[in-house]
Symmetry: C2
Subunit: 380 residues, 2 copies
Amino acid sequence: MIYMDNAATSWPKPESVYTARLNCMKKHGANPGRSGHKMAVEAGSILLYTREMLCQLFSIDNPFQMIFTMNTTESLNLAIKGCTQPGDHIITTSMEHNSVARPLKELEKINISTTYVRADSQGKIDPTDIRKAIRVNTRLIVTTHASNVTGTLVPVQEIGKIAREHGILYLVDAAQTAGIIPINLSTLPVDMMAMPGHKGLLGPQGTGVLYLAPHVRLKQLKEGGTGSQSESLVQPEFLPDRYESGTLNTPGIAGLGAGINYIIKKGQNTLLARVRRIEKFFLDALLNIPGIKVYGPTNMKDRTGAISINIKDFDSAYIANLLDEKYNIAVRGAIHCSPLAHKTIGTLKQGTVRFSPGIFNTLDEAKECIKALEQLTRLK
Amino acid sequence: MIYMDNAATSWPKPESVYTARLNCMKKHGANPGRSGHKMAVEAGSILLYTREMLCQLFSIDNPFQMIFTMNTTESLNLAIKGCTQPGDHIITTSMEHNSVARPLKELEKINISTTYVRADSQGKIDPTDIRKAIRVNTRLIVTTHASNVTGTLVPVQEIGKIAREHGILYLVDAAQTAGIIPINLSTLPVDMMAMPGHKGLLGPQGTGVLYLAPHVRLKQLKEGGTGSQSESLVQPEFLPDRYESGTLNTPGIAGLGAGINYIIKKGQNTLLARVRRIEKFFLDALLNIPGIKVYGPTNMKDRTGAISINIKDFDSAYIANLLDEKYNIAVRGAIHCSPLAHKTIGTLKQGTVRFSPGIFNTLDEAKECIKALEQLTRLK
């Protein structure tokens, strides 16, 4: 099988991820932060190790600014709901995933309004449109870092600068970029960043992260046992415990630590160059096949990750299904949980066939994909 | 090492749990419900398999009444916050874990009041006290099934009956019982039950479950991508998607399915009898050692799981530490995230030393623990 669905979850993982996860369960399987015995302490140090790996990769100092969640969706819900209250205004874009759009829709019920800044037909956002949307009650700007449909990069540096100038919080959804594109959180003007552990960071499913800048204080989404201040009925104030209630996914987090370590050891730029080479090959080839429509930017500098296409008017799920059944190529078809983005690029009905290469894909695999697509353009 | 900390998390897990988890990541590592290709479908069927295992163990028919969460704490937050609104009244007990007590404390801020029904000094709850606490605006009764401090069983059948008579929802926190004590959800008058995947159900950390009776509809805690109704900005209404946003911990859930299958195959009553034998040995021995105080019921029929003790006036964390360092016995000392329960039994300052045997402990290990404790009673 050729796996080209890394935008959904990266696969396979480095061997060290499987091993770290299994070792954690077999050898350090206690509940961290709860008991004081050796195995519980070892489990606790696994959590710290992964936080430190995150710090190293994203260039920050304090490991407790990295909050563990179940997934990016939880990180986004915590961030969005944690910093807003009735009467507030939020700015977002027409390229967001439902993990941003659905919480915002829900918040309308408690009188939190949203402006959707429209992207152009390639999914590009103009930062000046963000500036124009600012109101006196704008509390939060939330944008994706790169569209999961078109791969279009959002100018987070410029938007962050605008947010800082206006004293507005900026939350970035890095679902498609964390671990893939180098991000320096000590210089990027971002207050919160939500990330999946199981995509670019190469960890297992069931892991997510929310980065919080030192000045950000959110209302928590859940309260419960934290192993800390056990005598208190009130949720602890300090990080990360304030936001991490209940038993964490320790073996998953062990795997995540190994995944990040793999990226650091191999070199993030080296890995990125490998994927970019495949993406460029894809893009160049696709743009030259009659009958194939490519969505998103046509130049590499404005895009990363997902490559969405359609073949003539064929339903994208049908094409994805043929790729799977006839060619053993795993991609995602239809609507990618981002109706806003599909509306923007005009594919709300047809959906798109999305190829998303990862670090373990090869150029030969990409060539096979192109060959299959060429054949499929002859479909009637 | 002798691991006697199964009330925090069960360890080790059956070999099949490690294998299922690893196989899931290596062979079925796609994101379930997102794409339609073979590996994504396989991953989806892993989720369904585990739901079906839960149905079998808890005697219900519809797998979609079993909602996957990160942990019991999330299940409890979802249940408690999802069914209440300002002006409501909640009844709970003085034996609850912070995973119940802290959300209730938080809800006071939005005018949701709570009555704490007091247990006796052994942690026992009188159901008539629950009945007496009912007000016209009582929306929810939430109790633990068994105390994580004293092991005291709560009469859930009787409390559930009272709740039904009054049209009040009943939520049970089965953190210490799910997978251990047979529970028939088709006959037990319970509307919601929160469970950990990683304790009695023998699955990995990072997995929790919320059972919802067919008539229960909650406000969700998080919105986001569900892979379903992708074209809609509104959270889907149907189960389980309404409550399961974002990528699930699929490998963890694979392990959970294997854990439940292990219980079903070995026979829940057989496994329970094995643990009960160790608990009884513990209890009988402890009650006969001068200098040791045992908390909770002194007869087996009123208790399960956790056995909390103290040695004279020694700090419980100090004793737990000695057990770890000198005897290589892993237990939990201090306050077990349940200040209410510690207050009830009078150990808010001293804490308790908690032994919690699991299905892989042996009688010989229990004997070694008793020997160590006998030696420690000679401490000055």
